[in-house]
């Protein structure tokens, strides 16, 4: 049974994620067909029936639904999620009957690096802050320090992110003039948005780190180690942390996924040119193909994160056999 090993598991998991992605995108595909004629939406109410029909043909909307769906799925396999007729283009028929359009997936994929930078910095920062806090609290349970950490971490998950983001801009960019208000490009630009996004992960990871460390520290072998006179910080870092790692890693994964959702608002506030801001733009102009592309990538990222977390989980605890 072990012969199938990690590789087999990885392949199965990958297959599962692909099926998941297909399901989600199929749901998105059929949902999108419910919000009215995309061609009419592109051309506006003033366009003639003839123009609309021409664009519908060009968009493939005149085909039976199953043909459209098949094309959609096949396109997805080839990394083609269709064309936008709106983003960066305001009149599809502006060029002598040849409708202009652009592929959506490259437009959306171009935004990924910025989101990865922001998300990565956020999560790394959150881990660096949260782990020591959680361990600190766990080693002094029920003291004032523990209670403070507890309330602070709960406060972190209770705050409205964009509200906090605006306060950060006011304080650090305007009043103190330490950091740029918004934008993208230098390391200084990432600090405020990452700070705004990291509050929730810091809170959650601290909570989990604290409670799983508490569980671990209560176990007999730790008590025994203490009895042998091993210093408490060493106990925390070596003995307990290793065992407490699984719930912590799971939470880090969950929070990374939450950050992916969080960027939608935070990127807009900070003018951060990531996929989140693009999603908001696409929603605002009701650019259905572009929305599909952004959702595709966001779901792909989330599935990827889940996969990585599962593998980390397996690596940490080889005995755990997942379905």
């Amino acid at each position: 049974m072990i012969g199938h090993g990690l590789g087999g598991y990885f392949v199965r998991r990958l297959l599962g994620s692909a099926i998941m992605l297909l399901l989600v995108m199929s749901a998105v595909f059929f949902a999108d067909r419910q919000i009215g004629d995309p061609a009419r939406m592109v051309l506006g109410v003033a366009a003639t029936e003839e123009d609309v029909r021409e664009l519908r043909e060009r968009m493939g909307l005149e085909d039976p639904l199953w043909v459209q769906y098949r094309r959609f799925v096949l396109g997805m396999v080839q990394g083609d999620l269709g064309d936008t007729f709106r983003y960066g283009i305001s009149k599809p028929f502006a060029h002598g009957g040849m409708p202009e359009s652009r592929k959506t997936l490259p437009i959306a994929a171009e935004r990924l690096p910025a989101t990865f930078v922001l998300g990565g910095v956020t999560i790394v920062f959150a881990i660096l802050v949260a782990l020591p806090l959680g361990i600190y609290a766990a080693m002094r349970p029920r003291t004032a320090g523990d209670r403070t950490v507890n309330v602070l971490s709960l406060a972190g998950v209770s705050i409205v992110e964009y509200w906090f983001a605006l306060i950060l801009i006011l304080v650090f960019a305007v009043q103190l003039d330490w950091l740029p208000t918004s934008g993208y490009g230098t390391p200084a630009h990432v600090i405020l948005p990452a700070l705004a996004l990291s509050l929730r992960p810091i809170g959650r990871i601290t909570q989990i780190a604290r409670s799983s460390m508490l569980d671990e520290l209560a176990k007999p072998h730790i008590t025994a180690a203490r009895g042998r006179g091993v210093p408490i910080t060493r106990i925390a870092s070596i003995h307990a942390l290793k065992n407490a790692a699984i719930p912590i890693v799971t939470t880090i994964g969950d929070e990374t996924v939450n950050v992916v959702t969080g960027v939608i608002i935070i990127e807009t506030v900070f003018g951060w040119p990531g996929i989140g801001a693009l999603t908001v733009d696409a929603l605002a102009i009701r650019d259905v193909p572009l929305i599909e592309a952004t959702i595709f990538l966001l779901v792909l990222i989330v599935l990827g994160i889940n996969l990585v977390i599962d593998l980390a989980y397996m690596a940490l605890n080889p005995r755990v056999r997942l379905r």
């Binding site: 003033a46 305001s90 202009e100 605002a284």
Partner: protein
Amino acid sequence: MAGRNSRHALRAAVLGVLALAAGPAYALGGGGELVIVANQEPQSMQAQVTYKEVNGVGLRNVIEQLTRLDPRTNEVKPMLATRWEQVEPRVWHFELRDGVTFHDGTPFDAEAAAVSINWLWNPENNYSVREMMGPQITAEAVDAATVAVITAEPDPLLPRRIYLGGVTSAKQILEDPASHDVHPIGTGPYVFEEWKQGQYWTATANPDWWGNTAEDPYGEIFFDRLRIVWRPEPIVRAAMVESGEAQVAMFLTKEECGRFDAKDGIKCIVKGSDTFLQFRLDYHGAAPLLADPRFRKAIFTSIDWEGIRLNLMGLGEALQGQMLPSVATGFHDGIRQYPYDPAGARAIVDELKAGGADIPSVHVSTRLGSTPRNGEMVEAMGAMLTSVGIPNTVAVEEPGVFNPRAVSKPTPERAYAWLHVQANPLMDYGATFGAHFSCGGIVSVFCDPDFDARVAEAASMTGKERHEALRALVKEGHDRYVVAPVGLLQRAYGVPEGFAWEFGPDHRIVAVNMRMN
């Protein structure tokens, strides 16, 4: 604020060193990069977008037109055309400036100008700039330096109207029309560099700009580079100027403006615009009662227009119950803003109800981000309508929902009101009626063939006669409760202290009219 000053000093020093090191490539410039923070990203970079400043902020630095408006007098002045005359009632000849080239190196001549003009106003293309068009415009080359612009009907406003149409490379239009959407190639003082969607677009100073050597340039190049960024949050826009990240922050609120003026190092520039805020109630609603002048009067008098203007619109001037200010052709001095009379409005509603009428629900919508606090305004309007017994819904709609409707022609399904901004740089009711009050108008709210006929008649007139004819139509429109003007907007910009900027009511963000002292 010592910190900020020293920081600015440092910044200036660094820039100075950089400028020295690079050495001026041409005599002008040396002002470093100009960063403008707008409230929204351009939806495209087409030449037609230049007709409205908010849809393509800064595009006028790359794309020029045949004529321009003088910032001080608002008169039509030469730009790419040096002279023009009406050779026939329907034909105008424009004599073109010599030695101008597009940024792609192709020469600007009559042939190129004709291609560009025909492209812009082409009914096939159906660009929204057509809302500003009177009779259909076409163009053809007369000789190398003269282009003829022909209108379907006589159009006395043409030299002013032609100022709205940006001129771009004919080579691009003919050979690569797709890139016209995203890569503007004009003749302006700045050469388009790149549009990083979601982030910024940039342009660099044009050493070969005709204005560098011409006798009558409309400005001079001070800034070496141009960068346009966008932030939807007003506080972020303001903060960017405060922290020195940008030099021009668009559309501050009245209160922000006051704060900027009170603070060292930054200031607020306020200027009246040609943009007015209006409330329109469609005349062709599904509910028959919407066509009843009594009901329309009830709606128009249930809203406290002056209260909304003073308390919510912020910076702006009153309008006298009509869309354009007193300088406009056709202005009627005999009418006043619709009075606020909730008791009277309620009485009408009660009377209609007593007569067995079914009061329809009115939907009041506005577009996200079109002007500060429009959400509050529609909310106030909704509450005021409710208080006189008119059911309603209000909404701030995303551009994707609002825009297609805003350019729709009247249909019987339309039974809604909207609050929106409209620019009328022509300051002439002929143009306003054409867009808003005619059956074929691209943003029309009103359709009455008889009214249309009289508008068409007035549009071909000139002088006093035109004024009187339009004036009568203004009065009629007012009495039919079609459009309630809320106010003429003033736009406010946050800039650093020492920033000089000369601009007219059209509020074009033209870098050659700006400098940093």
